[in-house]
Amino acid sequence: MLANIGFGALLITAILSAYGIFAAVYGVIQKRARWVDSARNAMLLTFPLLTLAAVSLIILLVDNRFEIQYVASVTSRSMPTYLKITALWGGQQGSLLFWAWLMSAFTTAVTLRKWDRDREFLPWVIVVGLITLLFFLLLILLYENPFMKYWALPGGGIVGALFRPAGATLFTPADGSGLNPLLRHPGMIIHPPLLYLGFVAFVIPFSFAIAALITGRTDDRWIRLTRRWTLWAWLFLSLGLILGGRWAYDVLGWGGYWGWDPVEIAAFMPWLTGTAFLHSVMIQEKRGMLKHWNMVLIILTYALVIFGTFLTRSGVLSSVHAFAQSAIGPAFFGFIALTFIASLVLLAWRWSSLKAETQMTSMFSREALFLLNNLLFIGILIVCFWGVIFPLISELATGQKVTVGPPFYERATAPLFSGLLLLMGIAPLAAWRHSTVKTLGRAAWKPLVLSVLVVAGIFALGVRHWAALVGFWLVAFVTGVTLYEFYRGAMARHRKSGENLALAVVRLAGRNRRRYGGYIIHLGVVLMAIGIIGIEMFQQETQGTIPQGGELALGEYTIRYDRLDIFDAVDNRNVARATLSVFKNGEYVTELHPRRDFFYDSQQPMTIPGIRSTMEDDFYVLLVDWLPVSTAGATFKVYHNPLVNWLWLGGFVFILGTFLAAWPEKETEPVLRTVPAQARRLQAYGD
């Protein structure tokens, strides 16, 4: 019953979406407001309907209704309720439904707000949003239905079908196979929804961009309208990526946070274009330039959002043949191609009206440096994109798969990331419109001197790794510049109004939260860079099998293997838990408990490291193996990860900065008016 309600809700939403698309287009073309309003109502209905579908599935999951194929595949009786709820995105079908649900939430939220103000754009925003939604709904309805049931055929055999096949009876397995144990972690519970939120939220600025192209309102109004949406989308995506890294570090048991896995890259690519977009829209707002480029960036971001979902959902990554066999692969491919080409055609159609209002005047102006920043982001994107699709090309061309692994990505992107850090230090010092080497040098020399001193200090401490020294110099320089920017701004206020310095900093940041939020994000990035330099360049590891009471040494640390306990836990898993004493320079520091959980229902193991974490370093121990008969010996893998905690601290600062930048203003929205090009030119010349 519940399954039928869920399926019915999906079906009605799909029909409504198709109707909404038609009504909006017809209404605009025929200039009939009632049709447009009707399209809006259709849009507004999608959210409650999809909520009904999603809640139906959640109830089925929580209620152990194993006659539903999806429920049986991702839950089991022994799972706690909160995990059963998160199983909504623990498998293919549920994920797609969840995606569609969030998508409708965002587009509904957009259409609920400021309907009258944005009347010219919103019909087209509805069209783009509903087309995307309809695509996902069709995928679910036609290929990946989460409400399919098991049926026992009269002649024997079990099939999955939505409705009863002739003569069949409903079949209910005694228990489900349970959620993949890797997904049973707090990081994994929150990480996919955040990524999905980031993905679907980027559809909003894209919809407005397409609306701007269709209506011909190609000034920066669409950018100003979607500024916060874009920041929120970016916030969710960033948070999703950071939490994904943390989850990998805690659960995947390889001592790292990022493995250049295609699935990670799939989420990273829209983030790259999104970040480039966040920077380059500022040039359009300030200088009326780069209108074409901003359109290209948001179109690319949208395409990459769908492409990322396609990569992770179609099976194309394991093999191009899996892609050809799965029904949703070609559908995704077709949709990406169609939307991408249609967007580019629209862009070409409006090409001449997107002409820049002013021109670049200096190679060292902030806009020129932002362009360079965009080039570097796109460079990283190309490396990622090419690295992900090359194995497929190779398989198609030669029949042989190849692996494009971390060495390729690290070598190719390291200089580009360094370039971005350097720009992060220079660009804030450059003025809009014009700067010269001289004016830049005058602003940069203080942070420059400071950063050289810092590196000299690190060198004096004995660090001789040249790449690390360059990294630390960049970190020090960017930190210096960013703090100096806060200081300069606050001092200026302080001198002018006599505010005390702390208050001046707060008021300064409060008055332009995007600018200073951005600087805090930069600080977050450099803190993360410290962690990345630490783990990438100074990580040490060793592995050894030691008897009970035996020791294993790594650098300053020694572990002593005290004992191993093997027991069954209440949630249907077998736990092998080692107890280790950790000594640093011969002195006892702590006890660690690396363990291996084996989940009976899904028949999969999960390795949980024992970690001693400080700001200086992480000491990270994995229980690799043990001798089953006696507890005489066990194999441990030990990592020493210097500075890695700075990565998580940086992530926290990063998100804090994004919050500051994205939080809605007190006065609901800035007054939107179109500044005539002439006036803006005058303004721009005023600084």
Binding site: S318, S362, A368, P391, K401, F408, R488, T545
Partner: protein, 167 residues
């Protein structure tokens, strides 16, 4: 289908295990100094065809465990790192390596990104040049405020201006 591929790979692996197990004792006698770290050094750069994108040194599956045992055995027999890698490539194809070997069509993976990036630089420089040429603003204007320290007022003015336009 995936299951089928998995089981397909199991056949040579089972054979390998048998070989490996029979070889382990011999290997340990021949060279007892092969450590886990030696094995991991090689395993780090290898990928088994079953567990995609998980390097051999951290992969927890039985199949990968057997590969590591095989590495240990070969090391014990005195094989070099390169010989062992070549052995795996011959057995299972180029996909076991962390990066495609530099030959034939694989060159594309190494050449396309830098070429695309160079193209990007070229376009950017051209665009900047054409903008500058078309701007009609003399370069001198850009440097007009360069001499001398800018008074603090000027910075405030610029800051205020930037902030105002951001509202």
């Amino acid at each position: 289908m995936r299951g089928l591929i998995r089981s397909f790979w199991l056949i040579p692996l089972v054979i390998l295990v048998v070989l490996a197990v029979s070889g382990v004792a011999r290997a340990q006698e021949a060279n007892p100094t092969v450590t886990d770290d030696d094995v991991n050094r090689i395993a780090k750069g290898l990928y088994c065809p079953v567990c995609e994108n998980i390097p051999l040194d951290v992969c927890g599956t039985q199949a990968c465990q057997q590969w590591r045992d095989l590495i240990r055995e070969k090391l014990g027999e005195g094989w070099s790192d390169e010989q062992i890698k070549t052995y795996f490539v011959n057995q299972y194809g180029d996909r076991v390596l962390a990066e495609p070997p530099r030959r034939g069509i694989n060159w594309l993976v190494y050449l396309v990104p830098p070429l695309a990036f160079l193209l990007g630089i070229f376009i950017l420089v051209k665009a900047l040049r054409s903008w500058k040429a078309g701007s009609g603003v003399p370069e001198a204007e850009g440097t007009a405020d360069a001499p001398g320290q800018p008074p603090a007022d000027e910075y405030i003015k610029r800051l205020e201006e930037e902030l105002r336009r951001n509202q």
